[in-house]
Amino acid sequence: MAETQVGMQYEDLRHQSDTALIGMWLFLATEILFFGALLFTYMIYRLWYPDGFIAAVRHANILIGTLNTAVLLTSSFTLTAGLLYAKAGDMRRLIYSCVATIGLGLLFMALKALEYAEDFRERLVPGTNFALADHDGARIFYLFYYTATGVHLVHLAIGIGLVLYIARRARRGDFTAQAHTPVEVVGLYWSFVDIVWLFLYPLIYLVGRGG
């Protein structure tokens, strides 16, 4: 129970727990502006270079993209289930949920790696030998693509580390049905990473694909 003691600046455990949640919400506000700047850049150049962007979107691997969307949404489901188990005091199932979440996170990364490999094979890398060199703005699309998915993967890797930490603490017996705020804090973060993907998915794979 080492880390569930109440800090001297708090009245009680509940005061401390609620404060931790507010801290995470505020951190997510920072994150929204962080990704917001990138999405704004995408929007500007989507208007400048519709042709290059549409050509690039049509080269995206929609099968892997859609599969990954399903994987990530499911991972949010498993972690939320874990939170409900924690609330019910079932710490064994909380650990199982964490393991499932980590597994799905790793699956997402593996699929993403496959997709990157294919992008490289198809010369969808904006260097010399770029496959879409004829389309103005396609380079900028791919800069967005690699930056956005890269930063998203970094967030996902941090998330996997955090869920691992939750699982370890659950195994140590740190949580009870009343005191399990870290699960909820990490859950908020994980869902945010999920939501970021929900914005990236249409921008990379869908918008301009038809027609």
């Binding site: 507010i22 801290g23 920072t30 502006l33 700047a37 900028i140």
Partner: protein, 534 residues
């Protein structure tokens, strides 16, 4: 020794400092680091002023000159002005003022100091090994294509220190929301807290945009893909928009805490309840909110749409309203007050004068036609130095003297405090007032040489800067002296209101023996006499 253990005597090992979770000790770690950065940035400024003694440049080559003013800007903005008051005085005083035992997240607070130091050292590495010659604004495509300096390393340093800003802002906001003592309602809080809260909102919401912009800048420089370089299909104006979306609100990060300090000092040394409490409180919030929508006034001549410029001009006028409200409220507080001219008060009065000049010349620059005439001249340089050095640094020194007895338990030498405050005021004006004239006459900024007819005003400015340099070194000497030989301070040497004065000087590690209960509004003078004196 008979005195009770306080936060300074609670542990003597280096470890007890470097791994501390105590907001007061972290504030001191920050104070030492920030002082180092201040004098480094100041040294660069001194070399710049020396070089401008003669029209052809007295000291350094054009290239070295570019590196000097870039180094001065990057260090002063990101490693002194933005963090200065929040991480030192704010860190120390916020929990004491609201009657809490610490900030909400003490470990995050310590982490923020380490991030700040890592970022600072990386930036220093870039600035000393080869340097950066783009100016602190890092405009593209100069920074991504043409500059030969260590742009990416400098940007990485700024990026890392940004996380420390975010951590500090987040910590303050959560602390003010959650840890106020019983009875400490929002409108009973001292106004320093309102100003820090407004500052924190900007830190949390603006800094991440700079972070992403710097990532894109680095990728363009490393891989040659045009996000901002027009030759590669990018838009240089987009960089300026994103950059100023952070960097203009950052100006309010730099000035809002100073306004908060001045409010505390003015009411203490006028021994009078602050005039128009709610106006000052809401003015802080209004400045933070409107401040997010004025960034385009940095781009009037950059080729943005005229209609955009019109809107940004109007909004820039609008943000002057809450700033003026504060100035009038300080004057209203002084009116019929029982004024004492101790050193903190001299700094605060200096702030009011210099900030007013800096603010009014800001209105000149917000007007489209005048801006075209003085853009990129020394007029702009003088304007923002009046706000940041005349205003913010004066406020920082004022606050440092005001809370020095609380922080160290010692009284600083009052006479020397007053001498330094007056020297700073006159040295500052002699340095920067000539620059208004130089700019109006057309001397452009960021050149290492200038037309011969500008020499006299430049010599005056350099002469002023030597006074200023001496005046900044004085507090370093006498404040350090007072640490060892200063008279011991009582709990409330200024007989001020505010919870921070109701605990011992220096405070114990847990701040208060018992959490105080607040039963009255802020600044009810005279305050109840506190039992422990001397």
């Amino acid at each position: 020794m008979s005195e009770p253990v306080n936060y300074l005597t609670n542990g003597w090992t280096i470890r007890s400092w470097l791994l501390t979770h105590d907001h007061k000790r972290i504030a001191l770690l920050y104070l030492v680091s920030i002082t180092g950065f201040f004098f480094l940035g100041g040294a660069a400024a001194a070399l710049i002023r020396l070089n401008l003694l003669t029209p052809e440049g007295a000291l350094v080559s054009a290239e070295t000159y570019n590196r000097l003013f870039t180094m001065h800007g990057i260090i002063m903005v990101w490693f002194f002005l933005v963090p200065a008051v929040p991480v030192t005085l704010g860190n120390f005083i916020v929990p004491l003022m609201i009657g809490a035992r610490d900030l909400a997240f003490p470990r995050l607070n310590l982490l923020s100091w380490y991030l700040f130091m890592i970022g600072g050292l990386v930036a220093l590495y870039a600035l000393f090994v080869g340097g950066v010659d783009t100016g602190w604004t890092l405009y593209t495509p100069l920074s991504t294509n043409y500059s030969k300096g260590h742009v990416v390393a400098a940007v990485v340093g700024i990026f890392i220190s940004g996380f420390s800003s975010i951590a500090t802002g987040l910590n303050f906001m959560v602390t003010i929301h959650r840890l106020r003592a019983p009875g400490m309602t929002w409108f009973r809080m001292p106004l320093f807290l309102w100003s820090l809260y407004a500052t924190s909102v900007i830190l949390v919401l603006a800094t991440p945009v700079l972070a992403m912009t710097l990532i894109l800048l680095s990728l363009e420089r490393l891989f040659g893909i045009g996000v901002f370089d027009p030759a590669l299909g990018g838009d240089p104006l987009l960089f300026q928009h994103l950059f100023w979306f952070y960097s203009h609100p950052a100006v309010y990060i730099m000035i809002l805490p100073g306004m908060g300090i001045v409010t505390e000092i003015v009411t203490t040394f006028a021994r009078k309840k602050v005039f128009g409490y709610k106006f000052i409180a809401w003015a802080s919030i209004a400045i933070a909110v409107i401040g997010f929508f004025v960034w385009g006034h940095h781009m009037f001549v950059a080729g943005q749409s005229l209609y955009a410029s019109l809107v940004f001009s109007i909004l820039s006028y609008l943000v002057a309203v809450p700033s003026a409200i504060k100035v009038f409220n300080w004057l209203g507080t002084l009116h019929k007050g029982t004024i004492r001219f101790d050193a903190p008060m001299l700094y605060a009065l200096g702030f009011i004068g210099l900030f007013t000049i800096g603010g009014l010349t800001g209105l000149f620059l917000a007007s489209l036609a005048v801006d075209v005439h003085v853009t990129q001249t020394y007029f702009v340089v003088a304007h923002f130095h009046y706000i940041m050095v005349g205003g913010m640094v004066s406020a920082f020194f004022g606050g440092l003297h005001y809370w020095w007895p609380k922080i160290t338990g010692r009284i600083y030498p009052e006479m020397w405090g007053r001498v330094a405050a007056i020297l700073i005021f006159f040295g500052f004006n002699l340095t920067f007032f000539p620059q208004f004239i130089l700019g109006y006459l057309g001397m452009p900024r960021r050149y290492h040489s200038y037309a011969p007819e500008f020499q006299i005003l430049n010599i005056l400015s350099t002469a002023g800067s030597t006074i200023l340099a001496a005046a900044y070194l004085l507090p370093l000497a006498y404040l350090t002296w007072s640490l060892f030989w200063g008279e011991r301070a009582s709990a409330n040497p200024w007989r001020a209101t505010g919870l921070e004065w109701r605990t011992a000087s220096p405070p114990p590690t847990e701040n208060f023996a018992e959490i105080p209960v607040v039963t009255e509004e802020a600044y009810e003078y005279p305050p109840p006499e506190v039992a422990q004196h001397g």
